[in-house]
Symmetry: D2
Subunit: 345 residues, 4 copies
């Protein structure tokens, strides 16, 4: 039985992680770290845990918790872990970081997107990028995982096969639609119910950090430089993200051919499904699951190939993929604790 600790357990990704790990047979959550709710029962903060879990949230003592658990999941906000992490701690414990601090940025990029100086950027190289469907072998051999961002996960799963097969130009436009849970649990006017409900809007136009993450991932996996224009939008839903990728085919494509490319890369993966022709992705069909749905349409008139992907941002885009990474690291079946059907209703 693996002993697990969760840093930032009372954020939304943290809560999902603890909820999903409850049904993982090989794991026990021993420590929940939450600065904002220390010494409160976790089930007081999240009353859905009433009767399931009487763990008390602890304050952050990274070294102490590193000594007591086998795996540490971090669901901390940007800028917290990078202040505390050290080589010594990395040696003591496996870390799966759902946060952004070690997701292959250099110091300048981190500063650009997060307006903070990174205190331990050199530790980044100890982290393997945890895009499970594309990096399984390296994850198997890793002790530390940088779990991909939610939009980045969807983008990469949707476009890596096409770039890999060299059938689209290196210039893509991605229009993203995000649920509100993507903004986390920190209060703000923009996420106040009355302000967010019944409205849709763009945000971080052309400067979302997942743009950078996507470009780096293309270099990592395919050694390719890709230009990407990415505009995310907020839509008033609880969970889920949808991306619409406008690409330019390098050759005349048929639906069957593109479908065969996706099949080639994903037919043996448990969580990526390419929909049949005429079926479109919808966030509800993947809600509360680790699934990624993909579909595409060819617009011959405008020489355009449009790819859609939908995931649950808190699961495949955060906690679920983190567990999938742990499963790979420990040789458990990838689907352990993740083998459930989306709740479409």
């Amino acid at each position: 039985m693996l002993k697990v600790g969760v840093l930032g357990g009372t954020g939304y990704a943290g809560q999902e992680l603890i909820r999903l790990l409850f049904n993982h047979k090989e794991v026990e959550v021993k420590h929940i770290i939450s600065e904002s709710h220390q010494e409160k029962e976790f089930s007081y903060v999240y009353r859905n845990f009433k009767g399931f879990n009487d763990t008390v949230c602890e304050k952050m003592d990274l070294e102490a918790v590193a000594n007591e658990v086998d795996v540490l999941f971090s669901a901390l906000s940007y800028g917290v872990l990078m202040e505390k992490l050290s080589q010594e701690i990395l040696k003591k414990v496996k870390i799966i970081d759902i946060g952004v601090d070690y997701r292959f940025m250099d110091k300048e990029e981190y500063k650009k997107y997060y307006r903070k100086d990174h205190k331990s950027i050199e530790l980044s190289k100890a982290f393997t990028y945890g895009l499970c469907e594309w990096n399984e072998r390296r994850i198997t051999d890793s002790d530390h995982i940088a779990n991909p961002g939610c939009f980045a996960t969807a983008m990469e799963l949707a476009l890596l096969p096409l770039f890999s097969e060299n059938v689209i130009e290196n210039k893509v436009i991605i229009d993203g639609k995000s649920s509100l849970s993507g903004s986390g649990r920190t209060l703000s006017v923009g996420t106040h119910y009355v302000e967010a409900n019944e409205s849709t809007k763009p945000y971080r136009i052309t400067n979302h950090p997942h743009t950078n993450e996507f470009k780096k991932a293309m270099q990592l996996f395919l050694d390719k430089n890709v230009d990407i224009t990415f505009v995310p939008h907020i839509v008033p839903i609880q969970r889920g993200i949808l991306i619409t990728c406008y690409t330019i085919p390098k050759l005349t494509l048929t639906h069957e051919f593109v479908h065969s490319i996706f099949k080639k890369y994903y037919c043996n993966t448990p969580f990526v499904r390419v929909l049949d022709k005429g079926m479109y992705v919808e966030t509800k069909w993947v809600r509360n699951s680790n699934m990624c749905h993909i579909n595409f349409e060819i617009d011959k008139e405008n020489n355009s190939l449009i790819i859609f992907a939908a995931i649950d941002n808190l699961i495949k885009g955060a906690a679920g993929q983190a567990i999938q990474n742990m499963n790979i690291m420990y040789g458990f079946p990838q689907t352990m604790a993740l083998d459930f059907i989306p709740t479409c209703l």
Copy 2:
């Protein structure tokens, strides 16, 4: 491995049942019956099943399916099963009816609430009322279960302990709040998105059939006649119901005493939780689960005891309780396939 069939599998309760049974180790869903989608793949109708299930929906042939399965769940609309069911079929197969046709009404009551003549009212007595927490012994010995209605489940779980201990008057007012999934998948103006969204309203004022079901249940379990005024309201949420029960104490009550009554009846049940003083129920804390949360408040100034209960109407109020009934019938742990934490987000 039990072989199971689902009648009305493409309705919301049916879909939930099939989704939850996917994770039940002792059961295999062999037949999905759907008049409206016959010969279509179930995963075409519910795309969350894409890659999980390739069952094709069948048209209704009750006798045939009764011959091939051990347990038949019915999630049919009112008035369908009562046209087809017979003593012969009852002998062949165990039936758990999520529908209303055999939920202890007499012919007149059925006509009053459903405006149809019941064609097989005499079969009602073959059905045991499946309120698991209060009827476990009888369920164990039964072959046919009438699964309680969603509002009725919440009402009975909230009030049976208090009536049983004789601490409240036999006259209660219940104000109900229902999600839209309670209205099912059949299209109507009232459930059209633009009409239902951003609005709340009462419906079936004083003539909801669960009023009758509740009164019958009080007679069945406690041999008591209870007057109930019940007004349900629609609130624009996907799933969940909440009831607010206004009762009159027969004696001076303390919070501790009332809490001890609930504890007496529910401390050993896996799905009913009585919240601590000052914590209020909220539908999200039980969403996507078989849990029932209860809290209460004493209004001394007005000599009033107000009890609140929240359940997920599609799970504890339908598919989940149906599985709980099956688990009891077969001696499986009650929590089998139902042992998951609510998804509050």
Copy 3:
């Protein structure tokens, strides 16, 4: 042209007031006071005003603004106005207070509900209770109005005719459903989108201040002591409140008779509509308007008369009623700037 100032103009009620006054022919909004957004353009805070209004929000200087305007609307949170108001200011300017500070509480009641010591409770008697349909004559003669609370408005409009005609017992149960805008613009976990969306819950069980306001209003208008049990609930909608009032008839009532009572009191009022038999109130039918819809149902079996009322909490329950009060004070038609049809969509 009346010169008007708005205290607390960037709260939700303040914004509605300014929006509605834009179409009032006899009024010009000269000053918008907002501590939280001082020196920002109002149209920067509320971008729906882009191009309509270039007023800059000012910090609070009560005396200064009182010198410059004819009417001062206050939409401040509880506890702010009571710190600043004085007899001198009352002499200088007409005040219509949408807030709670002078809504006929005594010092103890204020402390009980708002946990603060009231600093100028003696000024309360300078304020007339602004329930327009019941207090028009006194409002005409008043310089200072305490605008009724949103739930209190609905309760009083629904029940005053019945108490006045002495047809119901002095003990009522009221179950309220409130939109999120009722909680204002101040951030809190409970009003964070992801927490509030897709859920419903009770709050302030049995200790909501409108309980007290309602009782006081019954004394004021009818010299009656009424017992009321009131439980408000949050439903995830933007605006609107609905109340369900469970009352006990003193005599055998017919639908026609009760309807005639409501007609008697409201047939000449522009904003209260009693629906025909079989038509139920719904918050959307009054959304974005100053209307109050009422319907009722008699439950003979349980000797119960159930009355429903719906209003838009920000308009009839706040800004609209405030303008209606001003219209009465100045002898304008009551409907001036309020004569628009609800936007049901």
Copy 4:
């Protein structure tokens, strides 16, 4: 006082039209035509009209109504008006068609998008395209108006200035987000509350009829052929659309320069607002109004100019623009009955 008739008055656009015309001083709505609700009171169908309007819906007799009114608004579904309209009727009455039947398609295009044979395509040339901000002079001289589609309105207002100034390439990608009211009042699984709520999805990928309308408008106004890839998405909101237009600058652009282009075309129009740098459009800021908000961002790194526009689909995208057209036709101020501030809450 103009006498007005509304065809298809009980659809959503029809209802908005009747609601807005209630406050139009120069107009009286004399006839409401509704096949689906004939002989019912309009206020029975839309209870927000209770007490405002006692008009009874009539069945369709196009000739009769044409004889009795000055202006006929048509808010009929596609394919209805084209069956009934004739040269004779066109001579009798001014028509403003919110529907699609005469929006400059040829017979093949109509068939392609609506899968019906157009019965009176030759009448199209009697209709002037009613994009008020760009076609005012011709509208002034017209008797019959084809009111632009909602997405087309947003696209054209956002892009015409840039094409007119020749600063962007003739190839654009437009990603649209539509509210549910855009799908109308006809029931369907996709617009059933439980199916549409809490989800987002693309629809009519690359074959939405507004694609064609936009291209035709570019030819009409600028004599330009423009390639457009347009993918609309559904987001779960009541009203409002947002478009994100990805364009390629022909030269190096500065924010100031692009802003000045928009200013040039819209500084004297009452309903189009270009937001200041750093302020982004959001559907709520134009909700319940005839406003169009536009903002843009230059992505130098990828040589991309991204323009955003938001309108209320039922007002600026339908009923409001129709009234604006009537105002122009009759020489009323354009803002008559449309001069209200958006209700952002």
